[in-house]
């Protein structure tokens, strides 16, 4: 059990403890269960409002968006920063007073009392249930995914634990438990995100240095107009991004209930300062970290081979079949591997030691699109589970030479430069073939590239460890700084989480390569 798991256990116990502590209020009456007895002060109101509004998007989506779009993604943050104060200043005091006057405990009940009609509940309730259902589902999924990634336990169990704890404290303490757990979570979120931001800045040598490095990937990533530049800016997306998180969640049920549960209407005034302060500190951070991840974790996701700039790079996407002579029971090790060039240098220099081999030395991070591999080969990729490949290995026994399999399993790995004896074979010194981990017995060892060069990728090697890959490294970029040790803890992204990855990744690469 690692330390992250212990922290999670403590966290879950604390959340459940809050549920138990608020049991008395939750069981008092309907107002006690649904609104916490309208007893919340400004700090809890504001931070609860913000943490429940942030959702899993801020940790899973915002960084990913910034990773693919650069500073363009901060348009979402620009609106989000003002979302809290807009809510509190426009709705907060009014909702608190009117809901108490009308005796309303929920948003729909408020509408029903405010505009008396039997159709209000009939129309609003199904809409709210449908929308909130999917909203809550995404939060549960985000919680389960996060727990899975931190602890490594299977997703189904991670989801069960996350949902179980949430349901437990909610049923015990009602809204008061939700508010206090949200308050604690907001503080944890803020500390954690600032911690990550500061660590990121230290790792890249400061914000300016990081921006300079990102600008070398694609200068447009530093602009607010998107990776394709001002010429192709999407103004509608920008306007929507600003509005969606500013006025977009005015009146949402979980926001309204936060207003209704305030101790006094005037709480909204003080809460607005907490909300804006929290947002200023928290909201830009995941976007900036996401942009800087382009430097720290350049292969966190991989562009598809077809999206690579310059057709010549595609030539390194070798497609071959391997048939291994050794039998493992009935299971012949049939592997279909592909190699792909992912272009540009991939963090040469001192990077964490290879997990699989224990070597400690200069290494190159490469992308590994794999078409077919034996399960144990995934240990080479740092995976725990079998890949979700579409065809079973027995399909490959029938020798279908022209079947073109799209890579479904992607990951990244560190390859020690010493494992790449074929480097510098090409005439062009900028291009080096780095052949790799694996071997198999390729029937064809060369593949012609459109630019006339040949890539010789793999030849002899261990016949039983197949995870073919290659990378072309380019020496045109300055050698990056020391990679942080934290990357050592980051394993390959689970294959099932890479399904349907964003084509827009290609946009982060320069157009003129």
């Amino acid at each position: 059990v690692n330390i992250e798991t212990w922290f999670l256990v403590i966290y879950f116990v604390a959340m459940a403890g809050i549920g138990v502590a608020t049991l008395k209020m939750g069981n008092r009456d309907s107002e006690g269960f649904l609104l916490g007895g309208r007893s919340l002060g400004p700090a809890v109101t504001a931070l609860r409002l913000q943490s429940s509004s942030m959702s899993g998007y801020m940790f899973l989506g915002a960084g990913s968006l910034a990773y693919t779009k650069g500073y363009f993604s901060l348009w979402y943050a620009m609106g989000d920063i003002g979302g809290g104060v807009l809510n509190l200043s426009i709705l907060g005091r009014r909702m608190r007073k009117l809901s108490q006057i009308l005796g309303s405990l929920t948003s729909i009940e408020y509408l029903e009392h405010r505009y008396p009609s039997r159709w209000i509940r009939a129309i609003a309730a199904p809409i709210a249930v449908a929308c909130i259902f999917f909203y809550v589902m995404t939060q549960f999924i985000a919680g389960g995914r996060g727990l899975e990634m931190v602890t490594g336990i299977p997703y189904a169990w991670a989801l069960l634990i996350a949902v179980g704890v949430i349901v437990f404290y909610t049923f015990l303490g009602g809204y008061l438990a939700v508010a206090y757990t949200d308050f604690v979570q907001a503080i944890i979120m803020l500390i954690g995100m600032l911690w990550i931001l500061i660590g990121t800045m230290q790792a890249i040598g400061g914000w300016t240095a990081g921006n300079d490095a990102v600008g070398q990937i694609n200068p447009n990533l530093l602009t607010m107009w998107g990776p394709d530049g001002l010429e192709s800016v999407q103004w509608g997306v920008i306007i929507g991004a600003v509005l969606v998180f500013s006025i977009g969640y005015l009146g949402w049920p979980h926001v309204n209930v936060s207003h209704m549960a305030m101790k006094r209407p005037s709480v909204a005034r003080t809460a607005s300062m907490y909300a804006t302060g929290f947002n200023l500190l928290f909201i830009p951070a995941p976007y900036i970290v996401g942009v800087m991840a382009l430097i720290l974790l350049p292969t966190l996701e991989q562009p598809r081979t077809r999206g690579l700039p310059g057709r010549r790079y595609r030539a390194a996407g070798l497609r071959r079949r391997h048939r291994h002579g050794r039998h493992h029971g009935r299971d012949h090790v049939h592997c279909r591997c592909a190699a792909a060039a992912v272009g540009h240098d991939r963090q040469p220099g001192p990077v964490p030691p290879l997990r699989q081999t224990g070597h400690d030395g200069p290494a190159v991070r490469v992308d590994l699109p794999v078409h077919r591999a034996h399960p144990r080969d995934h240990r080479l990729l740092g995976r725990r589970q079998r890949p979700a490949l579409g065809r079973r290995s027995r399909d490959l026994r029938h020798d279908r030479p022209r079947r073109r399999l799209r890579p479904r399993l992607r990951g990244s790995g560190l390859v020690e430069e010493g494992e790449c004896p074929r480097r510098d074979r090409l005439d062009d010194p900028r291009h080096r073939v780095l052949g790799g981990l694996a071997a198999g017995r390729p029937r064809r060892q060369h593949r012609h590239r459109p630019d006339g060069h040949r890539n010789r990728v793999l030849d002899a090697g261990d016949h039983h460890r197949v995870a073919g890959h290659a990378a072309i490294a380019s020496g045109t970029r300055p050698r990056p700084r020391r990679a942080p040790k934290e990357t050592e803890k980051i394993g390959a992204i689970p294959a099932h989480m890479l399904a349907g990855q964003n084509d827009a990744l290609a946009g982060q690469l320069p157009k003129d390569v």
């Binding site: 620009m78 005091r93 006057i101 921006n211 300079d212 530093l222 006094r264 005034r269």
Partner: protein
């Protein structure tokens, strides 16, 4: 500044500054809200008067 284009710097610092100003203006304009607390406390007391009478009007009119 910070290795960013001037337009990027202007946007990512300018828009949050607008929100800060908005918050400060809101806090200033709502400085009288605390006075309502006294009236509400008085209304909550037994025999303190009709709670809903005057507050509906004030609830419909907010500062911000």
């Amino acid at each position: 500044m910070f290795g960013l284009p001037a337009a990027t710097v202007a946007i990512i610092f300018g828009i949050p500054a607008i929100w800060v100003i908005y918050t400060l203006v809101f806090v200033y304009l709502s400085r009288g809200w605390k006075a309502e607390n006294v009236a509400e406390d008085r209304a909550r007391l037994p025999g303190g008067g009709d709670e809903s009478g005057g507050t509906v009007a004030s609830a419909n009119g907010g500062t911000a």
